[in-house]
Amino acid sequence: MAIKLEKVTETFYLKLEEGKIMGRKCPKCGAVEFPPVYACNTCGNLETEWYEISGNAKMHSIVMPAALSSKPEYKALGKYAYGEIELEEGSRFNGVVRGMTKKKRKQLLEEGKLPVPVKAAIYQRDGYKTVVFDLVEE
């Protein structure tokens, strides 16, 4: 490999159009960067390589949308929440999880069921596709 001036962001979104969710894997330490970037934040290696993620993940925290923290276009998501997502490949980031309600959150917290399994999905926004997650029902 060599350090390349590469359109990583565009490639990520073009792959979503093909139904693939891509991250970048460090050839040195194996850590996966998601969303994909050039370098490895785990070991500091200067390069990473394209890697298709499985989409299997866990949600570690749950914040419900409210007046301050929602936008009219988010209504199309249906019921949803924000939170910390951890991919099975290890990356952690903030994302949206569909299918979460206040009632479900209460139940999960009371039963000590966090983190809860979620699955990545490709979601159409205005003009491009992005990645959200769906609660995996038991």
């Binding site: 850590a31 952690r92 980031f93 966090l114 992005t130």
Partner: protein
Amino acid sequence: MAVMNQTKINPYLRSVSIIGVGCTPFMYTVDHEETNGLTEGEMFGYAALKAMEDAGVSPKDVDFYFHGEASPLNNSNYLTPNIQVANWFGMKGKASIHHSEACCTGYYAIEQAVNAVASGKYNCVLSGCIEFGDSVAVPNHPYKREKMTMEKFLQTTAWLYERGYTRSFMAGQELIYDDAAEWYKRTRNLTDEQMDDTLNHMCITNRKNAAVNPLSITKKTYEEEAKEHGFEDVMDYMRSPFNPKMGDLLRAGGIEIKCDGAAAVIVCATDMVDKYMGNKSHKPIEVLGVGCAACEAITPHFEVTATEEAVRQVYEVTGVKPEEIDIFYANDFIITSHLISAEIAGYLPYGEGWKYICEGRTAYDGDKPINTNGGRTSFGHAHAASGMADLYECVLQMRGDAGAGQVKKIPKTGMLRGYGGAQNICTYIIRTLE
């Protein structure tokens, strides 16, 4: 925990001290005849000259200045806004630089000024910050301003977040409001009611502090406000629709009051304070160290994570222990910052901070004072200038010059934790020189 890089910072090459501070009132300039039409040069210039006067220096003594403004293009019709103001405070021809770290600007203003002196390049530096958070310059008019509409404000705050993924993923920019409260409530096992009360008590304390501060934008306590609305118990008022839930956990009272303001500081090499301060009687305050970190908003618990790293750095480089901190400031444009940063810094004990707050111990007359000026929800939030206004207040407290809001025991050591734009964290420790 997300992957987090760490930085080892080194002691300064030479000691740097704060010798002068200045601050405007935090205000809605366009709402009042006597302030409507104030310009960038006048606001920044006033704060700069007050800091020079306080330090006992003239503009001729000051080698360089830093200029902080979070959103100069939107608010002031300026790019490179440092250039446009120099003549107002007698520094024509002297070099300067502009910086913007959103709401953390006023904290990074210290980091940069101290580095400039500690490196040996300059001996005496001005660092000032300004923001018109409530108004925007009328284009093509020399001094008129108009109110900032919420639509315009929200348009500009959207620029704070990374374009490629964060905005697209729809979560990071929304989590700024409730993430820290969710994190605290979950990790400390608080009930919904305990968390709600804690958030409300912070608002009440901030307002109590602001009510006795001459420069704050709010003067009425929540107790007074509650009575006006027919509530005998202030907590009933805070839990009522008069203080509506705006976030998952956050209520209206826990959100910044955006306004206009400017503040400035003069720092110099500690071994030169006698030369600069002349016959000034106040003691210089040494900047012992500054810790900085930044987590872009796609990072889980970005404020918490970056605060932990910045606090680790500043304690490591200074050798100061949490129990040595006498007074604490947190940029709390979301009120939760006040609690979580004080606990992360060890100023309040782990898992117990919320109790200190609910017992009123963090008010200016308590034993663990925090944000004695009233913080962002009551002193006001002139975005870039807020951190510098916190330093102004902290310096007055450490001199014993804070008037009606003076804390009981004059603080010797203070910690200030800046946060802004969901990204930057800057924490520093200052101590009065004996």
